[in-house]
Amino acid sequence: MTDNVKKHETPLLDELLKGPWPSFVKEFKTLQDKKAVANDLLGQLEYSYKTKLGYWKHGGIVGVMGYGGGVIGRYSSLAEMFPAVKHFHTIRVNQPAGWFYTSKALRTLCDIWEKRGSGITNMHGSTGDIVFLGTNTEELEPIFEELTKEGFDLGGSGSNLRTPSCCNGQARCEWACYDTMGLCYDLTQTFQDELHRPQFPYKFKIKMAGCPNDCVASIARSDLSIIGTWRDNIQMDQSAVLKYASDGLDIQKIVVMNCPTKCLDWNGKELKIDNSNCVKCMHCINVMPKALAPGKDRGATVLLGSKAPIIEGAMLSSVLIPFIKLEPPFKELKDVIGRIWEPWAEHGKNRERIGEFIERVGKGNFLEEVGIDPVPEMVKHPRENPYIFYDEYLEDE
């Protein structure tokens, strides 16, 4: 113990030291002797487990100078019992794209955080940040200074652009239809101002996945979802298909029958793909990675608007651009991003996500504003109700 405080007993939490899955309680315990904050966190959590209630208070804006995000202020409502967690703010540190690290970089982060905070992290937060869990208001500036000196910066929070994130893409995946990590880095740098200074009606998230498997759940968890895909034919190595078959894969049952548009045909000797009906779902490729691959004319589908349910119900992102080529410097995409932010930033209501905004003003109107032509790929099906806001009409001559 750095401070001379009594180690809290945690009989309930100790139950969670048992079992094969790695224990978060152990993580706290490794620091309990070293840090009063870890000890008091354990104490308060044990108290939560006993009483079945949380004891954190939100509110009160804390942060670093000039930034409007990156820190979540949090205070214990049991500060008298657990004084070391009286302040317990988290810091969101912008992760490197694809969450790649060297041990050296990680150790640098550890050193800063051990010195100036609880020593406890989330690797990573749900949005993708490195989350430093628990520190005092006074430590914020020093931490920020030390982080930036080492080349790290804060991530987003509040009504900002949130930290963009992406799958590991071309770094380690054969299916990536564009350079997710390159784009993620580029957008993060391009939009530093939007990331650090609130200028939107509410949060805005960007996630990038290299192919329709969507390994970062971008279609469900980001206002802007950029998902790799291709326009031409699936690449196929017929002999590798045969190898899968002779190795025992039931191609008919496992592959063909699961194709959503039934555009595969397998006669035991040859796999045929009616590519004009392939909807690029990835399934056949997923099952036979050595035989099939996305086509060569690659790019991405851009979708807008996903979010959690508060308050109109959850949304999935919906198609904005069916296909876009994505090569550095990603000019067309950045241009589109600027254009979609504009009407939302101007006309969005407080705490209205862009998906909600689009539903409120009408996707057709939104497209007009943004200068994108409506195409049927944007809808599951055309409208079923007759409430058309006609805006053209004839006038008597």
């Binding site: 049927p376 055309p382 006609y390």
Partner: protein, 361 residues
């Protein structure tokens, strides 16, 4: 009191038993199967072996007593006076003797009632009043129906379509014809906000009720020339005419801008796919009486493309489900506009929330 008793009320319709041919009475609930020997003719066969032939004849739904009497003569001559109407406004002669079938057909056709509409064909168009009787109509009903059926007549007579083809028409958004669930629907639409009859509105209508009737809150109270009336916020009006239903002093009809929209892909049966709503294909076509050539050719085009492309038993909506909406628009050459994208209350559910797409289709 005695007068009241003399008055007959609440007797309901006559019992159908009185109107059933004997062979139906005897085989009621005992039918085993049916055949469709030729377009317009069904023969139902009972477990008892008994048979009844039905000859289905088109009507314009509007029938004068003169015509009904002619139809009665036909029924008397070939069907022992027994006949019925169908849920799509055709009539069916209920014939017990096979030998009467062909002569009945011949005579029905001769006196102007074409035979067909069975099996995988186009049957009669379910429709509504239009300018013949309704105050609310944005187009005529019977005229459009006549023009469309003249053009598609062969599909009524033959059974060469991929599946049943159900067309419906309603002359306004009230949709008294089942256009919300038809393979192809023709719907009269307004495109201009109602114009308040300021002088009379306050007298005829209750302003608060009227304001409440507008689903988009486009109606605001105002005073003009000292009398209470309302004004319509044009941007908010979606031309539903609900206000006009509530208040006749808010006419919405507009000769130049009323017109017809076309919808596709709805169905009612539970066969194969579940019942589904019609979807917008063409937001507006002009009202061009007497024969609405734009509407006729738009409908024909959709029918032609579908008939050529669909698999057997694939209704219009099932066909589009298989090929996808982008291809529907491509194949039919219909333009996709911002109006096709739903912007009403529950629109979110209609947005494409997946990357699944035919990029090289």
């Amino acid at each position: 009191m005695s007068e009241k008793q003399a008055r007959i009320t609440d007797i309901g319709p006559p019992h159908h038993d009185k109107f059933l041919p004997p062979v139906i009475k005897e085989n009621y609930g005992k039918w085993k199967y049916h055949e469709n020997p030729r377009p317009g003719v069904l023969v139902h066969v009972s477990h008892s072996g008994a048979k009844i032939w039905s000859v289905r004849c088109a009507t314009p739904r509007i029938l004068s007593v003169i015509s009904i009497r002619k139809i009665c003569e036909l029924a008397d001559k070939y069907a022992d006076g027994y006949l019925r109407f169908t849920s799509r406004n055709n009539f069916e002669l209920l014939i017990t003797k096979e030998a009467n079938v062909d002569p009945a057909i011949k005579e029905a056709i001769a006196i102007g009632y074409p035979v067909g509409g069975t099996g995988n064909s186009l049957s009669n168009i379910v429709h509504t009043q239009g300018w013949v009787h309704c105050h609310s109509a944005a187009t005529d009903a019977s005229g459009v129906v006549k023009a469309v059926m003249d053009e598609l007549f062969v599909h009524f007579q033959e059974q060469k379509l991929p599946a049943k083809l159900r067309i419906a028409l309603a002359c306004c958004l009230n949709m008294c014809g089942a256009v919300h669930c038809s393979d192809i629907s023709i719907l009269g639409v307004h495109r201009r906000p109602p114009k308040a009859d300021d002088a009379n509105l306050g007298k005829i209508c209750e302003v608060p009720n009227l304001i409440a009737s507008c689903p988009t809150a486009a109606i605001r109270p105002t005073t003009k020339n000292g009398v209470a009336t309302v004004e319509i916020e044009e941007e908010k009006c979606m031309f539903c005419a609900n206000c006009y239903t509530v208040c006749p002093a808010l006419p919405i009809n507009d000769a130049l801008n009323d017109g017809v929209s076309i919808w596709v892909g709805g169905k009612v049966s539970n066969a194969r796919s579940t019942p589904s709503f019609s979807k917008l294909a063409i937001p507006w076509l002009p009202n061009t009486p007497p024969r609405w050539p734009e509407v006729v050719s738009a409908v024909k085009n959709i029918v032609d493309v579908w008939a050529k492309d669909a698999r057997p038993y694939e209704r219009v909506g099932e066909w589009v489900s298989r090929i996808g909406w982008p291809r529907f628009f491509k194949k039919t050459g219909i333009e996709f506009t911002k109006h096709h994208i739903d912007d009403f209350k529950h629109c979110g559910g209609t947005f494409a929330t997946s990357t699944q797409m035919r990029h090289n289709g």
